[in-house]
Symmetry: C2
Subunit: 192 residues, 2 copies
């Protein structure tokens, strides 16, 4: 998606450790009009699927998933991190290892909000090693829900998550795929 690639080139910053910092427009300060367009694009890509819910994980996935859910007019569910006494014990849980943060976090979704009748679109801001998506898929599997596909804003194409998911036949749509990045340049994979 040209709009997103241009924004990454203009405002993204490459940091040591293969970190692409986009906190000026995507996951700390948010360009709300841009994110609304990302939501519209996810709708275009997945509108032929009978999606009943969108699932993401707090916190940086919420706005993008919300923007998409506005076009689908379906509920958004976000997996919560850690233990929260407001959620209670009746939850599906999975562990997600964050390579950026260097540790695992348990995430959970209340059993009330996912079930075997649901067809779910997973949305997140980043796809790198795929740990977050695989954790969310584990939760879907515990709930017996179907996966329609995975939509991410930015995929790090040089990390294995996207390839691994696609090899399993999962429809993964990334609005920008970064093939390589250095201190001074970012290059994107050309769309098919």
């Amino acid at each position: 998606m040209k709009l997103l690639e241009e924004k990454i080139l203009r405002c993204g910053q490459v940091l040591p450790g293969e970190i692409l910092k986009v906190d000026g427009f995507l996951n700390h300060q948010m360009d709300v009009d841009l994110i609304t367009e990302l939501g519209r694009e996810f709708y275009r890509l997945f509108s032929s699927y009978p999606i009943s819910k969108i699932l993401t994980v707090e916190a940086s996935g919420i706005a993008i998933a919300f923007a998409a859910a506005q076009f689908f007019h379906v509920p958004l569910v976000f997996a919560k991190k850690g233990v929260n006494k407001n959620v209670g014990n009746d939850v599906y849980t999975a562990d997600i290892f964050s390579y950026t943060k260097g540790f695992s976090t348990a995430v959970s979704v209340s059993k009330k909000y996912l079930n075997a009748d649901d067809t779910v679109l997973i949305i997140d801001d980043f796809l790198a090693n795929g740990a977050a998506v695989e954790g969310l898929m584990q939760i879907l599997s515990l709930a017996g829900a179907s996966l329609a596909g995975v939509g991410v804003a930015i995929e790090k194409g040089f990390q294995p998550g996207g390839k691994r998911l696609r090899e399993r036949g999962i429809k993964v749509e990334s609005l920008a795929i970064v093939d390589s990045m250095t201190d001074t340049s970012i290059s994107f994979r050309t769309s098919d």
Copy 2:
């Protein structure tokens, strides 16, 4: 706001410890169309202010604040919880005590995304003791930014946060103010 009050009556649940559980539509599973209407209402209430940014705190404030920011067409900034090596040290920090969770959390905003030119609307899902709003106001104060006002979805009118803020002359707009609640009933303060 009638729409929100009716939803709370239909789907909210009162738990021991003065907890109003609205995780079926507001802060775990989200009724996206309803939250979009909350955003529109915040715009109506604050559209005469020269708001340059909306500020909230992760995670449950993000969707509501995002919906409001879509009407204002201004950036949304969310304060991050804990320490994150992607944010770096150049941050404004405040402590927020959660009465629900029973402990304090440090929240921070990158210095790049708030400054003395900003007029900021704070938005959150709940206002009870006011700890989250006061933490965000402390961050605004560190940044030298101006506060336009505070918009919350649900205020617990029987807890002191809202009163305390209004006594200091701060414009606080709550879309539903719960005056009292028991296992079987929830009553709202009538709008002025």
